[in-house]
Amino acid sequence: MASPRGNRRRTVLILLILTSITVITLDSRGGDSGVGGQIRNTARDVFAPVQDGVDQILQPVGDWWDGVTKAGAIKAENRKLRRQLQAARGEVATAKSAVRDIRDLRTLSKLPFATDLKGVNAEIILGSPGNFEATVGLNKGSDAGIASNQPVVSGAGLIGRVGRVSGQRATVVLLTDRDSGVVVRNTRTNQRGVINGHGDTTVLTLDNIDGDGTMKAGDLLVTAGTDGGPFPPGIPVARVTSVRKRPGDLLARVTVVLLANASNTEFVRVLVWPVP
């Protein structure tokens, strides 16, 4: 005969399994508008002020931790960045001039399309609290006009897309996330391919390459902007770093590095896309 304690344990186990399955099912089927989504959004908004306060207090601690764990890499990166800064200053001056020229030309020719999309500027305030996703948290949410699946960019290029959104918070699913993928176009050869996230690294591979042509290291990849796609066309995404094709291989292995890196980005712009 089973003891009362054994019965209680079995009851707890059955309750645990049934409740979990119910919650998972409700959330999977209901999405953000369901009961699960409402619970999640409420929890995120309730914790938002506390997270803001604690994050501001602990920012120096986080910086110190980064300094301890990444001192060598930071020194090397610092040297590299100084060199790049000199080059970038020249490029910025050229680019500013080019932007002015492009605006003038666009105004003059009255092109039927506009590349300037409306958007919402937001600050990255949180990293991912979990181990199986590459995300960052923004300090703005649906109250500021941010919606799920909108593209998110930094000055360097595409960062990712908006995931879950509550009133005061939005989560950005980064391009490095395993659930991310973006169709890109080589600006030199017009070949298309797909960049899929693999986790924590910004060095990825370009898959499903189509079209004629040969990619080269240094080629710029921008969003292809497929019909009804999640990203507008022409946003810089990555640069080809190497192209390897061994004898007998049908396709070359193309390695790319993402241009925008959320770990050294503070402000991003959430683009209104598709244009309403």
Binding site: R5, R8, R9, V12, L13, L16, I17, T19, S20, I21, T22, V23, I24, L26, D27, S28, G36, G37, I39, R40, A43, R44, F47, V50, Q51, V54, D55, L58, V61, G62, W65, D66, T69, L126, G127, S128, P129, G130, N131, F132, E133, T135, G137, G163, R164, T171, V173, D177, R178, D179, H198, G199, D200
Partner: protein, 175 residues
Amino acid sequence: MIRAARLGLFLVVLVVVQTTVMPHMRIFDVVPDLGLVAAVALAVRYGPETGAAFGFAAGLAADAFLQTPLGLSAFAFGMTAYLVGVAQNALVRPAWWVRPALAAGAGIVAGLWFVGVGALVGQSQLWALRSIRTILLAAAYDGIVALVLFPITYAVARVGPRDIAGVGAPGYGSA
């Protein structure tokens, strides 16, 4: 303050720390699951029911900040704490390394639950070889954190004179 209220407040603190402090404390790009470690601590001392209940609540709170379906971490944490609570009866004389080893083992089990059940409910991106590396590294981090979090959890969950009796059968170390 009664024990249930203390544990509730403790859970809120863990959620705040997990979402604000831990992202800054990544090592090899993983963070420990504080809610899981605390649930394991409770399961070891107070049995599978207490551990499972706290694990479920901690997991549900963690799910609110993740992209994966609500309830996935709740199931993984609750089930793992339950199993640890059942298994702890076999531990007679705990050595110093038992706590971190238990937390690390629980981290592996919870990670496998998370990935396995996640893949079943449509999170196919979790079903990757890379997840094994993530699970192992996070489990090791859980083990390190357990050295600090187990005593804190026990201090919070201690049964005081004002608490209602009958919180579950005590396990080792409570005598």
